[in-house]
Amino acid sequence: MSTPTIVVLIVALGTYAWKSAGPLVLGNRQLPKQLQTVIALMPAPLLAALVITATFADGTKWSFDARLVGLGAAIVALIAKRGFVPVVIVAALATALARAAGMP
């Protein structure tokens, strides 16, 4: 099996294990408070890290290209309390314009 196939299958199985643990096994039981706190806090740094790598990473190198303009536009749209769709569209537009103007 190729690497992507293995990744898809294992991530699918693992994610399903997370999803189904409650309804199938644990029922109404609660996780320890400390663990709940850690789990509840986990998405913020991971999503922030994904913003960073999706903007600045080119393989294992830093790259400062037109995506940065797109992220900036997205943040402006978020500050202006725009929803998900306009934020994404604005980012693509800004990046496209920056590329048209010659940015990598």
């Binding site: 690497t3 997370w18 409650g22 644990l26 806090l41 998405p43 913020a44 740094p45 991971l46 294992t60």
Partner: protein, 305 residues
Amino acid sequence: MVLPDLAGADPMVGQRVDFDMQPMCPEDRGKPSGSELFWSGRKVRKAMHGWQINVDAVSVDGGQSNESNVVGKWGLTQLERSAILKQALSIGVSLIPFGLAFGVQCTQAKLQWFHALGMSSLVFTGGTQFAAVGVLKDGGTAAAAIAAGLLLSLRSLVYGLMMAPTLKGSLPFRMAASQLMIDESIAVSTAQVSPAAKRAGYFAGGLSVFFFWNIFTMVGFWALGSNADFSKRLGLDATVPAAFAALVWPRLRDPFQRTVAIVGAAIAFGLIPIAPAGMPIVAAALAVPLVLAVKRPVVPVNDVS
């Protein structure tokens, strides 16, 4: 607005349910718990709106039964049914650009069509899919991709515990229901009042997203992504960080989550040129124990409902 505790008590037709109906201000209501589940402020408002519709469904005309509050198919009133349908459809439609972006990202990672479809149907958890494919795109190992994906879907465990009372039933039923355990199904479910509506909302939200998400993953994969140069010229690669920024944005209002996010972002940025691809994302999870070791959340952050 104060809602009565209706857990376990299905409001019956003809039963008077009194609500304290203060002017509703979506910005102030349910912020710490609600924001956890929603991807943007707009969705919070959407769900709030639906919630109010449902409140009306059980409270208006308490004494009389008419078309709109007769409990019909699936144990739902007509108003509940239309509110759930509207919410489920709009939440599914609003994910179209995200699905397109995921399809594009799969082509950038040089995946086959069945990998893209497998991700969107079998994994079926947006952030997790982006994380795993993002690592592969940057040339990371399978282990790094799996770790990044599974760390991000860890919150499904908490969702599952939260939804278990709503999803009682036979084993096959619970097994099928578990696959729909995503942010959006829970958002639609928790926006309802009666237990029957919560259950219906879960499935409506989950199935609607499943439909739109898979279709538009493949549209993105085949129509937009196949030509890498073309999709770059359209700026489609920037939709990925923008989507993540929109996802993390509501969390940044909480000072503690903001701190953790900034530390996580700093770790990831610093590790890009040093660590193998994918590791910057996985290592960002260390921000949680790091920050917890220095300071405690003022209000315990344990509420994901």
